[in-house]
Symmetry: C2
Subunit: 356 residues, 2 copies
């Protein structure tokens, strides 16, 4: 469908949040695409380690000491020694959009050999509507040269606001530890030239490696949970955020797209370490996913913050039998929203449950 | 996921159903891929017109006289002077699978310039499971070099039986008349190298131009309705079959895939003629689609025939206020199942509602 890109965001509207940077090549490769944006780097481990940022970038660097100084007691909701700490960057950003990317993700090439400006594609995805209520067989109807096919109801063609753009990975695919162990040599070489809406009612595995979202709208749902140091779980931070986000998007009629752009994922993480982090999640998710597939939010939840607080409450009620961890996580979800409202006072003026 | 193609169908397991052939080039182009299969050609107009089939093909040709001879009074459920008559071919086939294709669809090329054996890709799609309960961001996890990504629940990786493979079209996209009129020059040049499952709960616009299905399982739902001569509607035959099929697949946990293979769609049909055929459908579908999105089938409907009969009854009850056409269509849907059971006695031994 012909769509006027009225509002492709300006560089100052988009911050780039990176959980940590151990690789100087990373910023050099992305320089042409990132240097007009503010980088927010959230250092995940020892605060005394020095993170080197090459000259010419506009950045803010936060370590654990900064997180504790800024959030006080609420810092407990931010994971330590885990890339899940990246969500602190979402809290402190003032931009409308966030692009978050891992430091082992490099610039990919399309089949014609052109370097892919991933962020530009994300901003196209997020500036055009999503169509979650009916499947379009020619993929994104707002892509150039495409449209809605015969039989697509006209009343649904306006679509809904897109708030998440989930990009993919060439080279090392985002596999769990068991699949990594079984298929150590598998590489993703298939460039699929498509963007599509994840349909309403379908959950998807949201990966945080190459992800853009509308922080002003869906930011409060992008909490990456309690992972890493002192927690029984790792590598489920982005999954958790994805499940919560999708349930809330479906409730509020907001859109999620997946597909292009690709980045080049350079390095498989250690499958043995990953298995240790993941193994509880692998069986917990067999109960968590049916919970998210069936949970319903009440009609009067009309803001993302309200939806998230109701979801936090239901997590506490319905998942804590699985493990006491989910009671702790439920409380952390509430703390996260308190922190969000403190740092983003425009997000909501409603009183928090705790202060009622 | 590694999957043993234990049962790629043999040529005698797959019939090719073509609504009519006005173009001799069509069969010559497809000869290398079609000549081992039986062709079932259903002539849609004047029975006295001679349809020329080049030598070397194994075929059955049915015209209106044959349809009336074989079905007697039940022939009323088969459309006349409309390509919707193709579903008669589904009735009389004895093969496990059907590939149906229009005579303006030619062999396409992939981006490397290789001629695409569309049927072979369809049979790969239909011989591997579908995954309708959770979205896989790397598309078909059973494609070579692909798998389920991190966060995909292991209990859902076995998938379900695929019964429909919906292929796409390069060159002339399958647009409705209003879109054709607005974008007369648009061509589909985007080769998307992916196959995916249409998620549970999502309807999709099923096009009959390039479609394979498991006739033994889902055949009774592949009724192309009452279109063309004496009917108020055209160009909704495949859409109708697609809505019914998807609702029944969701109820019975059967899978529908869309994406590869592409064919080359050579010729846009006349948009003015199309508008005349479609215009009632364009506003009717605004009520039909909410009906299909919300209809539920009862627990005791455990065969496709039973599901279809219950759906026929609900169409009669819930859509006939929209237009008396839907009462007629509801009765034709029941006649279709009677005809199906007569010609396919193994389909079901249950008594029909009419004979109870």
């Amino acid at each position: 469908m012909t769509f006027e890109y009225g509002s492709i965001p300006k560089p100052e509207d988009v911050d780039i949040v990176i959980p940590t940077i151990r690789n100087l090549d990373f910023l050099e490769q992305w320089r042409p695409f990132f240097e007009k944006h503010k980088l927010i780097i959230v250092q995940d481990g020892d605060p005394s380690r020095v993170v080197q940022i090459p000259p010419g970038f506009n950045y803010e660097l936060y370590n654990r000491n900064d997180i504790e100084r800024i959030l006080g007691k609420k810092a407990d909701c931010i994971s330590f020694k885990d890339s899940a700490c990246r969500c602190f960057g979402f809290l402190v950003s003032k931009a409308k959009y966030v692009y978050t990317i891992d430091d082992d993700c490099f610039v990919a090439e399309d089949p014609e050999g052109n370097k892919i400006n991933a962020l530009e594609q994300h901003l196209k995805n997020i500036s055009t509507p999503s169509t979650p209520f009916f499947f379009n067989t020619l993929y994104d109807p707002f892509a150039p040269g495409s449209d809605f096919v015969r039989g697509y109801p006209f009343s649904l063609r306006e679509g809904v606001e897109t708030v998440v753009s989930h990009g993919l990975w060439l080279n090392i695919p985002d596999y769990d530890a068991p699949t990594q162990l079984v298929k150590p040599a598998e590489r993703n070489t298939r460039y699929v030239n498509a963007v599509m809406t994840v349909p309403k009612g379908s959950l998807f595995p949201m990966c945080g490696m190459n992800l853009t979202f509308n922080r002003e709208v869906i930011g409060p749902a992008m909490y990456f949970g309690l992972m890493g140091h002192g927690q029984p779980l790792g590598r489920y931070d982005d999954m958790w955020a994805g499940w919560c986000t999708k349930v809330i998007c479906d409730h509020l009629s907001l859109g999620v797209k997946t597909g292009l752009p690709y980045i080049w994922h350079s390095k498989a993480s250690n499958p043995f370490t990953n298995l240790k982090k993941e193994y509880k999640g692998i069986f917990w998710q067999e109960e968590i996913i049916p919970f998210f597939q069936s949970v319903t939010l009440s009609e009067d939840c009309q803001t993302v913050c309200d939806c998230y607080l109701e979801l936090a409450q239901k997590v506490g009620e319905e998942l804590s039998d699985l493990d006491p961890y989910f009671s702790k996580l439920s409380k952390a979800m509430i703390t996260w929203i308190e922190a969000w409202k403190e740092l983003n006072p425009e997000a909501s003026s409603e009183p928090l449950p705790a202060s009622k």
